[in-house]
């Protein structure tokens, strides 16, 4: 293949990725050559500019149809765009959180590693090929490992990073093991090709291997989205990492995980044979793989919801609390998947949007407070007296996380409930789990209310908030309320711009 062939591909569909890549590379060079003493906040602004450009590029692509390059190792469809959009915004917030004020500083590596992680996530969302997907996943993971451990003088950070690497490595290995079988059964790495080949006799003969391969792949992704029982790394890592990194892991990384999970669930396996036999006049055929594994997805969702919420009840450390909370939310997000609802894309996307706003907001608050001490639940005591606006913002996030109306979280949860109840038969089991989980979550979310509003504070000093964080707080709080009051903003947005069904067209 010569240069001409290469050039004739629609490379311009990759502009967002290119932008991020170029920014990352440029920043690493700048960082390298910049005076070591100099403040790195300039880099953050550059990175933000890069993200802004990427968002603009992405927005310009919104109404394009499906574009795929090079045997679909890169595929730009609405699905990818929708998730990339979220990841870009989330990363923007995370970068803003990292804007240093007078007393703190920021490391240059931190900034461009976040960008490379983002790049990995974007590639994951945009790939229709196991290899691209894997490399994207690894790019995200590796960047994350480093980001977690970047406060290398901090033993907690080191430990968190190490745990992350070990758990992540094992999960990757399991996923890859599954992928290898997937490849073996079809001889292809392109998931649309795989989709077509899944119905073949060879696969039917070895249908259990296909199912196992599927499950092993899911394990690796479940690890990324912190679904129980693959969640256990998360609390430790979240706690050990710097708060903006935690926010990144709990939001952007999870969005990427869900993107890839959805795609892998919906594309390669739709025609795959499952375990159950169906006797038809023409002979024996098999129910589809998705139908066979659906009970286990349901189980996964239920266990995740319950584990997240129940253990969160016992947490004292704020970051760990929110780690479990985010595990529980992953469980909620799994509900539409497990229900195989026709609302699945809308529900997941909207909930992720809401989750992005509220969770980043909550971590922003923790970030503010971690300047003083290791943030525990008790640190919130009397916060209202010390920082009323911060408290109000936090209240909004908490209400949204708890799913109280007039917040984005409620609309999200509403859609998830709809997705579970809109299928035939209705998924009452999932709904019950969500009910139990939501009620349990009231205890710890409102427990924070009790701290913030009812309890006296140990400290009297007002809380200092940097400008970047203020911006994040303002935008996320406003966004949470706005999407709660006028959800049509987001709902018509996705309807107008994203034809999720594109995901099914090869």
């Amino acid at each position: 293949m010569d240069m001409e062939t290469l050039l004739q591909y629609e490379w311009n569909s990759m502009w967002p990725e290119f932008t991020i890549l170029l920014t990352a590379v440029a920043l690493s060079l700048i960082d390298l050559f910049m005076n070591k003493k100099k403040d790195r906040s300039l880099l953050i602004w550059l990175a933000l500019a890069g993200i802004a450009v990427a968002i603009v590029c992405l927005v310009l692509q919104f109404d394009d149809g499906v574009v795929s390059i090079l045997n679909e190792t890169y595929r730009l469809d609405s699905f990818a765009k929708a998730f990339k959009f979220l990841m870009l915004i989330g990363t923007g917030f995370v970068l803003l959180l990292g804007v240093p004020d007078e007393s703190t500083s920021v490391r240059g590596e931190y900034i461009y590693l976040i960008l490379t992680a983002l790049l990995g996530g974007m590639m994951m969302a945009s790939s229709a090929d196991l290899i691209t997907l894997f490399v994207g996943l690894e790019l995200l993971s590796l960047s994350s490992y480093v980001l977690v451990g970047i406060r290398k003088t901090n033993p907690l950070a080191n430990e968190a990073a190490f745990k992350y690497v070990v758990n992540g490595g094992i999960a990757t290995a399991i996923t890859l093991f599954g992928m290898s079988y997937l490849y073996g059964l079809t001889g292809e790495t392109n998931i649309y090709e795989i989709q077509g080949l899944m119905g073949s006799d060879v696969v039917t003969d070895n249908r259990f291997l296909a199912v196992f391969a599927f499950l092993m792949i899911v394990v690796g992704l479940a690890f990324k989205i912190t679904a129980a029982p693959f969640h256990m790394w998360a609390p430790d890592v979240y706690q050990g990492a710097e708060t903006p990194v935690t926010a990144f892991l709990s939001v952007v990384s999870k969005i990427a995980g869900f993107a890839i999970m959805l795609r892998l669930l919906m594309v390669p396996f739709v025609f795959a044979p499952g375990t159950g036999e169906i006797i038809t006049p023409d002979g024996i055929s098999y129910e589809t793989l998705l139908v066979s594994v659906r009970p286990y997805l349901v189980l996964l969702a239920i266990v995740t919801i319950l584990v997240g919420n129940v253990i969160a009840l016992r947490q004292l450390n704020a970051k760990r609390l929110f780690a479990y909370s985010s595990i529980a939310h992953a469980g909620y997000l799994l509900v539409p998947l497990a229900a195989l609802s026709e609302l699945v894309f809308e529900a997941v996307w909207f909930y992720l949007t809401a989750y992005l706003l509220m969770n980043i907001g909550a971590f922003a608050v923790i970030h503010v407070m971690s300047a003083e001490e290791e943030v525990t639940v008790a640190s919130f005591a009397g916060l209202f007296k010390r920082a009323p606006y911060l408290t109000i913002a936090m209240s909004i996030y908490l209400l949204s996380l708890a799913g109280i109306p007039l917040t984005a979280g409620f609309i999200g949860k509403f859609e998830i409930f709809m997705s579970a109840l809109g299928t035939e038969p209705k998924r009452y089991l999932l709904v019950t789990a969500m009910l139990a989980g939501t009620v349990l979550s009231y205890v710890y979310y409102f427990g924070l209310f009790v701290q913030m509003y009812f309890r006296p504070s140990k400290r009297q000093t007002p809380v200092t908030i940097s400008n970047g964080v203020t911006a994040v707080l303002a935008i996320t709080a406003a966004g949470t309320v706005l999407l709660g009051v006028f959800p049509s903003i987001a709902l018509t947005f996705i309807h107008d711009h994203f034809q999720f069904l594109e995901i099914f067209n090869p």
Binding site: E342, L343, F345, E346, L399, I404, P405, L406, F410, F414, E415, F417, M418, L421, G422, K426, V431, M434, L435, T438, V439, Y442, V443, F446, F449, V450, Y453, F454, F486, P487, S488, L491, T492, H495, F498, Q499, F500, L501
Partner: protein, 499 residues
């Protein structure tokens, strides 16, 4: 029908108070008065709605309709699920609306005593009112739920911050039970929404009636939905065994809040049951009427018996509420006009009476610093006016004719005796028990030997007399002239069932 924004203005009217309060400095002298003023505007507007409400026509009035948002699935984008901003009042809701804004106003008066962080209190208080008003003017399940949750959150904060010794426990208990209830409600709403593609209450009522052929929802599903609805509102009502939270709140919450809680908030349960349970699932209700009636009798007797041996006034009243709500259930279970009308009457009436009783309990707390029955007694000697009101309230509560309680209980049982005379006969024993425990409690406070300890206690002050007198006169008014309720209610039209 002409669009008017009256209802929107009404539900947003507490916001004015909230805004004004939030710009006032927290230690301002008039902050409490500002709070009270904040509740006046909604009251006035409610009165306007109440008087403009046309009692001669059927259907929903003051309708406002705006499309709010649409949910579209990518698989069938042309069949969106539409959620609307949909207000309106019926004869039923206008009564509850009136109850809500009146009691909120009166309760706000009793909070004038509050010294500590009154600003926050009143802001949340007004937020609570906003929720309450919204619940009763929502013509749409989605909105109903939204406002319902607003009351939940503001109640949680009010109880948790300004309550008694065990306030946080009470607040959590409130949150958990009601949380479960609200999510069950949400599930019902969503199932209806998913199946019917609308959340408009009237529309749903019609649709569910027309599709009795079970085209949309199978009979089983409807039964389940009804059961869920029953639990959801049963927690609120509360139905035994979901009542423990309510006793805690009654005992722990600040008096102004308990007034609202006992007077209005619990009534949402009854409202929901009447509006949705009866409206959406009449057949299921009929099928389960016996179960409902038995639950009602259990509530009635259970509450009454336990109230009989409580040693603390607030607990007595809490269990008394449970007992009285049993009558609401009985009225609903009878499923005829008399019974349903009785259920509505009982709800309203108990709202007023409970508010009055707790207002007076507030006085007790303020003056005597205890609500233990054995530590009180002979109060009639030192505070005859107070004793008189308490006695009147007690008598009203035990269903004295000429007061609202009687006519409500009468109607409810009247209805019940048509459909289930045997259960009615058991339940009616509750009326005797009610007299027993109510007199025991009231007389323990007011009658008895003069206690020198209480000499020099102030009798009711003007700011306490006014709300008490207003409540008592309304109670008597309804008792003497129940048409004031039944004319507005127009039950057959409101709920849509014939006699």
């Amino acid at each position: 029908m002409n669009e008017s924004f009256l209802l929107t203005i009404l539900i947003l009217s507490p916001l004015l108070g909230i805004v004004l309060l939030s710009v006032m400095p927290g230690n301002h002298r008039f902050i409490n008065y500002m709070g009270v003023l904040g509740t006046v505007l909604p009251l006035v507007l409610t009165l306007i709605v109440f008087s403009l409400f046309d009692r001669t026509v059927s259907g929903v009035q003051f309708v406002e309709y705006r499309q709010w948002f649409e949910l579209m699935t990518s698989i069938s984008p042309n069949e969106p699920y539409t959620v609307a901003y949909d207000l309106g009042v019926t004869g039923l809701s206008v009564l509850f609306l009136m109850l809500a804004s009146l009691i909120t106003f009166l309760a706000s008066l009793t909070a004038l005593r509050l010294k500590e962080s009154a600003k926050g209190f009143y802001i949340l208080f007004l937020l609570l009112e906003l929720g309450l008003l919204g619940v009763f003017v929502s013509e749409n399940l989605f909105l109903f739920f939204l406002f319902f949750e607003i009351t939940l959150v503001s109640m949680f904060l009010l109880v948790g911050k300004w309550g008694g010794f065990n306030r946080e426990k009470a607040a959590f208990s409130f949150m958990i039970y009601n949380g479960i209830g609200s999510i069950l409600l949400l599930i019902v709403i969503i199932v209806l929404f998913v199946e019917m593609k609308t959340t408009n209450i009237t529309e749903l009522t019609m649709l569910l009636k027309e599709t009795d052929s079970l085209e949309f929802l199978s009979g089983d599903t409807r039964t389940w939905l009804f059961v869920l609805l029953l639990i959801a509102f049963g927690i609120k009502l509360p139905i035994v065994p979901f009542h423990t939270w309510m006793v805690r709140v009654h005992v722990e919450a600040p008096i102004a809040v308990v007034m609202i809680h006992a007077g209005v908030l619990l009534k949402i349960g009854a409202y929901g049951l009447l509006r949705f349970g009866v409206g959406f699932f009449p057949q299921q209700l009929k099928d389960m009427a016996v179960v409902l009636a038995i639950l009602g009798v259990i509530n009635l007797l259970y509450g009454a018996f336990i109230a009989l041996v409580q040693t603390e006034l607030r607990s007595v009243l809490a269990y008394s509420s449970i007992s009285h709500m049993g009558i609401v259930l009985l009225g609903v279970a009878s499923f005829n006009t008399a019974g349903l009308q009785g259920a509505v009457f009982q709800t309203i009436s108990h709202g007023l009476i409970a508010a009055l009783l707790f207002l007076l309990v507030g006085v007790i707390v303020d003056r005597f610093h205890t609500t233990k029955l054995e530590e009180l007694g002979g109060v009639a000697s030192q505070a005859p006016l107070f004793a008189g009101f308490l006695l009147a309230a007690g008598l009203a509560s035990l269903g004295l004719p000429g007061m609202s309680g009687f006519i409500s209980e009468f109607l409810a049982f009247l209805g019940l005796f048509e459909s289930m005379p045997v259960i009615g006969s058991v339940g009616i024993l509750g009326l005797i028990l009610t007299a027993v425990y109510m007199l025991r409690a009231v007389l323990a406070v007011t009658f008895g030997e003069r206690r020198p300890l209480f000499d020099g206690i102030r009798d009711l002050t003007a700011v306490e007399i006014v709300p008490s007198a207003i409540l008592l006169s309304i109670i008597i008014w309804i008792g003497v002239y129940p048409a004031v309720l039944s004319n507005t209610l127009q039950l057959a039209r409101t709920i849509g069932i014939g006699g």
